[in-house]
């Protein structure tokens, strides 16, 4: 069979919704696109632990604290599922870490914003996880099996993340005027960066067309962003706080919300490394990686030493 036949057979599988599995033939670009996307996704989960980790010791109650710890632990798990999925494509995990630390690999720009108050934990759960879920639900049907399966687990686990965030906002909004103002301030700061999470507008999105053809993406950035706005706007009304966009209003004709222009200059600045916390995030990850090196080495040395002593191994039954 020649290359063209193999490629059209591959496309035929995609078009008939047959999943691609690790050892199946795939075009090099399909492989590279997935490694890049899954890698970015994994890095986002891992870096995403940092803004929230900032508040674990200062959570206002034990209930909030256990929820926040569970959420951050989930994010670590999600990062690990995703690194594993990337590895099935031949990516090297250590190299992926190096690319994150060197700035070569990207992660979601939202995590380069600081978490200044407790209400930010509410806003992140409500908005950032809300946006992530919008992005991830269609990925459960992604053409690449291991990525789709990882997304099913992630989506199942993440449903509590958004709810706990909304609950934090809801409680603050029903609290004292100062608490409500804190919630409003968090919404003000996280609204636009949340909209940017869906990526550049369709007209400028370089990968969308190919990714859709390959069944990696099911919807465009703008389609998902619109869904997100339509979901969040009524929730903000319920909370009694105002989305910081004077152009946001219900459009009776289109049956969706119109909203204002996004500041793409800011988006590209943050992507390029000039956001408020880019440097701090990468430093924290690099420090953890470097200072943990001796633990990884010691564990491996210990494992090698134990290898001959297999008496304690219990048989699989």
């Amino acid at each position: 069979m020649n290359v063209i036949d193999i490629e059209s057979r591959f496309q035929e599988k995609i078009d008939t919704d047959v999943r691609i599995e690790p050892r199946d033939w795939m075009p090099d670009n399909y492989r590279h696109t997935l490694i890049r996307q899954i890698g970015q996704h994994a890095h986002s989960e891992i870096v995403g632990m940092l803004p929230e980790g900032n508040w674990i010791t200062r959570a206002p109650s034990l209930k909030r604290k256990v929820a926040l710890i569970a959420k951050v632990q989930d994010e670590a798990g999600h990062g690990l599922y995703l690194y594993s999925a990337a590895e099935t494509l031949g990516a090297d995990r250590d190299q992926m870490f190096e690319e994150l630390h060197s700035g070569k690999a990207k992660y979601s720009s939202i995590f380069n914003y600081p978490t200044l108050t407790w209400a930010d934990m509410g806003a992140i759960g409500w908005l950032v996880d809300g946006a992530a879920i919008q992005n991830q639900i269609p990925l459960c049907r992604c053409s690449y099996g291991p990525y789709a399966r990882a997304m099913v687990r992630v989506c199942k686990e993440e449903s509590f993340h958004q709810r706990q965030g909304f609950e934090i906002m809801n409680v603050l909004c029903a609290g004292t005027p100062a608490q409500k103002a804190m919630a409003q301030d968090a919404l003000n700061r996280f609204w636009w960066p949340s909209l940017m999470m869906f990526g550049p507008p369709d007209a400028e999105s370089t990968h969308t067309a190919q990714s859709k053809k390959w069944g990696i993406k099911r919807f465009t950035n703008d389609e998902l962003r619109q869904r997100f706005v339509d979901m969040i706007a009524p929730q903000a009304d319920h909370l009694g706080i105002t989305i910081p966009d004077p152009d946001l209003r219900w459009n009776e004709k289109t049956k969706q919300y119109d909203f204002g222009e996004i500041d793409w200059t800011e988006f590209w600045q943050v992507v390029k490394g000039n956001g408020p916390c880019n440097k701090e995030r990468i430093e924290a990850r690099t420090k953890a990686w470097e200072e943990g090196a001796w633990v990884r080495e010691a564990a491996l040395a210990y494992a090698e030493k134990q290898q001959n002593n297999s008496s304690s191994k219990s048989k699989a039954v």
Binding site: G77, L300, Q307
Partner: protein
């Protein structure tokens, strides 16, 4: 530095069911793989038993041989009960 080996994780979700592949993870040894599998794949009562296997110890069929491996089963309809005629009125067959 050498990286930790890759393990495949299998979970029995409850007694009476098969272990099912859940995913993979890296660990220094099998014992650590079990502990990590508990944390990574069983945070919400997903299982009652875990298996971990070094990925490098798994022999997998090659997708290129799928036709010769699996196609022969497709035309053997006589292996299914629906192939056989049962007269009307005959029960328990």
């Amino acid at each position: 530095m050498k990286s930790w080996p890759l393990y495949e994780v299998f979970i029995r979700s409850k007694a009476g069911l098969h272990h099912k592949h859940a995913g993979s993870l890296r660990a220094a040894d099998a014992e650590m793989a079990i502990e990590n599998a508990r944390d990574v794949y069983c945070r919400r009562s997903e299982g009652v038993s875990l298996w971990v296997v070094l990925s490098s110890d798994i022999t997998a069929s090659n997708p290129e041989n799928s036709e010769e491996l699996f196609d022969p089963a497709e035309d053997k309809i006589y292996r299914h009960p629906t192939f056989y005629h049962v007269p009307d009125g005959v029960k328990h067959l």
